[in-house]
């Protein structure tokens, strides 16, 4: 919450500052989603925010609202802030983005502040449902407990023939007290997690047909459970590859991620393959995603996969209706997450 108040004070100062008054832009997005489990007990739809469906209809797990303020002091210098509320977090306001951006050249910019941690393909707009055809990105892949970082990043964007290319290099850290996901998965415990000395690089190339993205991050992890330090300065590495194909109405989306924490004998692979086909305003889609961590030295494993069927209907400019069915098979022996389940959800996404 302290970040929210800090952002609010900063924003108010900027909005009333004569330099910024002429160039403040407001954009927003909202997702209103209702869902329930129709087979099984619970469905962990959103890992980082622990959005969980059960046998009763619920709006909380996936419903979100976001407001973004962009303040342009000059052509080169701007401040971006994004405040979000999530049903899964009792609609408490949070600051997802709060950074200053400076264009060193038209192609090279530097950002300083708080940003989303760009590990996965959809990390930057995970909550922006309008940007993809699912109700939510495949849960098996997006099992991260830390979603943001505070630090510095450099972004270089340039054209290469028919390709749009970018390279983003970042460095920073993030502390999460009573982390939602880790505390949920550790009964009767409050887990504090810190990711520090994170250094990452993301490269992407996009043309009319292909969208290729490579990402790598390394850093150190600290973890306290009920105030007792259990992990200190443990190395972690993340590698990700996405290759997406757009062929007229057909979209083929793929993502593969590998996360390693060698000192804790953790090696996780997560992947997905998805097909969507646009027929006028409708995009039916099918997706298979999986998360696999073999039994390690201390006997922990985690293994689950999900089959998703759904349809997106762009029924009005800037608005989309979605319906989705998810079937989860939880094969974890020592660490089952929420067990097998089948669930349905319907949602409305909009941007304004």
């Amino acid at each position: 919450m302290h970040r929210f108040y800090a952002a609010a004070v900063l924003l108010a100062a900027l909005l009333f500052h004569p330099l910024a008054a002429a160039e403040v832009h407001l954009n927003g997005f909202a997702s209103v989603v209702a869902g329930k489990v129709i087979e099984g007990n619970e469905f962990l739809a959103d890992y980082p925010k622990t959005g969980i469906y059960d046998e009763e209809w619920s709006l909380s797990p996936d419903t979100s609202l976001g407001l973004q303020f962009s303040s342009y002091f000059t052509d080169e210098f701007s401040l971006i802030a994004q405040i979000v509320v999530h049903g899964a977090r009792d609609f408490e306001p949070e600051v997802d983005w709060l950074y200053v951006n400076y264009f060193i050249t038209p192609e090279l910019s530097v950002q300083l502040g708080r940003k989303r941690l760009p590990l996965y393909y959809y990390s930057d707009y995970f909550d922006l449902g309008y940007a993809y055809y699912w109700i939510r990105p495949p849960a098996d892949l997006y099992t991260w407990q830390i979603t943001n970082y505070e630090g510095i990043s450099l972004l270089y964007e340039w054209g290469l023939g028919q390709w749009d290319s970018s390279v983003n290099v970042y460095y920073g850290s993030e502390e999460s007290e009573d982390n939602d996901l880790l505390s949920e998965l550790t009964p009767n415990a409050s887990v504090d997690e810190t990711w520090k000395n994170m250094f990452g690089i993301v490269g992407s190339m996009t043309n009319e047909l292909l969208d290729i993205r490579l990402t790598y991050m390394q850093g150190l992890v600290d973890r306290d459970i009920n105030g007792i330090n259990v992990i200190q300065d443990v190395k972690q590495k993340f590698f990700g590859l996405s290759v997406n194909l757009t062929l007229d109405q057909l979209q083929v989306l793929t993502e593969f991620n590998d996360y390693k924490r060698p000192d804790n004998d953790i090696d996780i692979e997560a992947y997905m393959l998805s097909f969507g086909y646009q027929i006028d305003d409708f995009t039916p889609h099918i997706t298979y995603s999986a998360f696999e961590q073999a039994i390690n030295a201390i006997g922990n494993d985690e293994k689950h996969h999900t089959t998703t069927l759904g349809v997106r209907w762009d029924f009005y400019p800037n608005m989309a209706l979605k319906a989705q069915f998810d079937k989860v098979v939880d094969e974890g022996v020592m660490v089952p997450v929420k067990g097998d389940s089948e669930s349905i959800s319907i949602g409305l996404d909009l941007v304004f």
Partner: protein
């Protein structure tokens, strides 16, 4: 009877010939009309005095993706001319190389990821003309034949 048959055959032949000619003419018109419509060139425009010189198509695409021009500091903001859906579709196809849905999603991602500004859409020539006059350095695109409806506008280049 025989005469009637011959007359009838002659008339049938005449009708057939007429239909054949009509079909050929219609076919030619069908081919010619779209070509002549599509032959109307489309220009990148700005207000007179903008000092914008010819840009590469790559740079025009870049600007319409919400990025800064890498080739000219005189380029300010892009404006989408939505006066005609066909023109807008052709622009997306010839310059942006993407569908309307794909373009929209890409812009939305950029807005919420990097705080880029929303790209303004204008559907009337009068409003477009007025906007470009008031915002020197902003660019848009228009059919060459429609430029006569605009005042104090300069053509930066022909896009296609």
């Amino acid at each position: 009877m025989n005469t009637f048959t011959n007359t009838s055959r002659a008339q049938t032949h005449k009708h057939f010939m007429f239909m054949a000619v009509a079909i050929i003419v219609l076919a030619i018109l069908a081919c010619v009309t779209p070509v002549s419509a599509k032959a109307d060139k489309v220009a990148l425009i700005a207000a007179k005095g903008s000092s914008i010189e010819e840009l590469s198509i790559r740079d025009v695409r870049r600007v319409y993706l919400g990025l800064k021009s890498a080739e000219s500091k005189a380029v300010n903001k892009p404006v989408l001319n939505t006066h005609s859906q066909e023109l807008y579709d052709d622009f997306l196809k010839n310059v942006m190389h993407m569908t309307e849905g794909g373009y929209k999603r890409k812009l939305v991602k950029r807005i919420f990821r990097q705080g880029a500004e929303e790209i303004r859409q204008i559907s009337s020539y009068e409003e477009l003309n007025d906007h470009l006059q008031k915002n020197v350095g902003d660019i848009s695109f228009i059919e060459v034949s429609a430029i006569k409806n605009m005042d104090n506008i300069e053509v930066i280049q022909i896009l296609w």
